[in-house]
Chain length 357, copies 2
DNA sequence: CTGTCGAGTGTTATCGATACCATAATGTCG
DNA sequence: CGACATTATGGTATCGATAACACTCGACAG
């Protein structure tokens, strides 16, 4: 038991919660700290023999690399920040998973934050994230406070906005037009003969994707000459299943002859359908209902729900890929790029003109 | 335009993506860097006047604090790590949200990771997290690899295990007995007169909570003298809605006279119910089905689903609170504590003995 | 009038790893 | 066989903030 170099008078138990440093590992092996540092990186030139000895020592001592020290000197935090409106929404958690998967084996770690659909919260989070000096940042949507935009510009890191097509993109975009997608759904249903369209969505413009969907709905209905759509706003986004149920009640009270109702998301659509069934209405017999987002529930439930399928996971993967790209060829080649992700109408039982199977 | 101290030959544009340091802010204001550092912390003693001038300068220059530098010298990373099996599962995302909320205004940031229900993945993630020197860590469940346990012990930070009651807790625990909860559900249904019990869950012991629920089921059924339960294992956890549907088909093929089926989660229960309805069976008329977890869908869908309500959000909040406590009174008072969180049977339509409303 | 106190501020030495440059040892080729 | 790569390694400065301690200055007690 050698005890030649204990720093002061501190504990020196066998495998205690010591803070071990690279230097100590180095001394143990008989090399310099620099060599230990190199051994931890795959590219660096260290002989196989030495690396093996170092790694054995690391194991024996239970040393764990300290990235916070490393990132200070290397000026690379190893973080990617991502902000999503909510993690409880499976669309966004799919996106988060896409990002995580794309980051695997890149040595980059995800720092995740929830904005609760609020731009001010987003601003706060952006600042909190930037304090960790992320190498890139992924945002949801295209509306940000002025200060948020300023901070992002100043940070000088690649930014990817997702899930929308912002009018004034900061940098890169991976998304699709929510209004076009909703319009496509309107047209698909109109071509099945539906004429009296209703819409259920959340209040206010907090959820920009929601309001884009609504305006896409409105525009498409008018273009088809089907008069103004019947629209109910209900609750603060994100609308829950329960609110979907309440909303359809209001809508049908006001416009009892509505033939088909489009909802801002599958969740509200599901709530609406269940409420109808509870009241003895047949879906799609008495009323047709469609959603948006193609959540798992929509293909399983009975009746299955017509919806717009969005590649949530792919949005995450591509956003992260775009970021990695930008970090690779970091040579000022700020080739801002807009990547359109696909979506498609998925017709299911809830809007079936003939009886459901 | 002063240009007295440009380091080398680099760009020096007005508000460009420069890396600003505290020292530069300090020089701008005419104080020392230390004072700027103090101005950023609420407790430190800086005159109101000076602090105001500093913050104005920070704003004007667009300076953003660099926490990675700060955490190196202060030896406090400001991170709390949390590992959950999956973020796409709303039970766990509720827990994550509980943690996030509890951390608000503490200056601590959440580092989240997904283990995919795999102990090896958890081990990897624990190492990745520890490299960031988190001040505490929250885990899901009580099974960890030996190396993971070693690393955690060595790290010397408080650990909270959640969602279960581990046999051999590392440190703190915030959870409940999954087997007891499932047994309670069995007894509640037995008291309604059900006798022939079936069970649907995932394969293998990857999902320890799942296997605890299964054994709780088995034990309760036997204790009630209802013979061995009829159990179907289907798919790798987490079981999807679709797999729930497939599983109930197998179960009913094998044991057509089953009266009630308990599922490892509401999601599989929902899939099972929908599949039954698709096949023209009445739920609960022809068969009763119950889930576990009380997901939003279960109270909304038709029939609504009998389940065990678990305080997912509360588990997160309490786990974080426990951690904060441990960090406060960090004076070695490692009062390891086991906090039991509540759960309760929620009887709904899917197991109603009389016809659903 | 001297000594003590405390609020406000500055100076210096780190924190733990890595960038950068230097050096020793081993080839390698005309 | 000498000049020159190439590989493996070490030494030192440094990343940007903060801990720890020192200092200044006015207030106030004795």
């Amino acid at each position: 038991m050698k005890n030649e170099d204990q720093p002061k008078d501190k504990r020196l138990k066998p495998g205690d919660a010591q803070k071990l440093t690279m230097a100590e590992v180095a001394k143990y092996v008989g090399v310099s700290a620099m060599t230990v540092s190199r051994a931890f990186r795959q590219d660096a030139s260290v002989s196989e023999e030495t690396r093996k000895r170092i790694m054995e020592a690391v194991d024996a001592l239970g040393y764990v690399l300290d990235l916070s020290a490393g990132s200070l000197s290397s000026r690379r935090s190893g973080f990617i920040a991502a902000l999503v409106p909510s993690i409880n929404n499976s669309n966004f958690s799919d996106t988060a998973r896409g990002i995580t998967d794309a980051l695997e084996n890149t040595g980059l770690q995800l720092l995740l934050g929830y904005t609760d659909y609020a731009a001010e919260k987003e601003e706060e989070l952006i600042e909190a994230m930037l304090r960790r000096r992320p190498e890139g940042i992924i945002l949801t949507g295209g509306s940000h406070t002025a200060r948020a935009r300023r901070m992002l510009a100043k940070a000088g890191i690649p930014v990817v906005e997702t899930w929308e097509l912002p009018e004034d993109p900061i940098n890169h975009v991976v998304g699709f037009s929510n209004s076009e997608a909703m319009a496509l759904l309107v047209r698909a249903l109109a071509s099945q003969g539906y004429q009296k369209f209703g819409y259920i969505g959340g209040t206010t413009a907090r959820d920009t994707r929601g309001s884009q969907r609504r305006s896409g709905f409105q525009k498409a209905v008018e273009e088809l000459g089907l008069g103004p759509g019947r629209m109910i706003s209900f609750g603060v986004p994100p609308i829950t299943m329960e609110q979907g149920g309440q909303a359809i009640v209001s809508l049908l009270e006001r416009w009892p002859d509505t033939e088909v109702v489009l909802c801002v998301s599958d969740l509200s659509a599901f709530g609406a359908i269940m409420e109808c069934k509870r009241r003895g209405m047949k879906v799609p017999g008495d009323i047709a209902i469609a959603g948006f987002g193609d959540y798992e529930i929509s293909s399983i439930c009975h009746p299955s729900i017509t919806t717009i399928n969005v590649d949530c996971y792919g949005i995450g993967r591509q956003a992260a890929a775009r970021l990695l790209d930008a970090l690779q060829g970091s040579g000022e080649a700020t080739g801002d790029e807009i990547i359109l992700t696909g979506y498609r109408v998925v017709l299911r039982e809830s809007t079936g003109r003939s009886a459901a199977r």
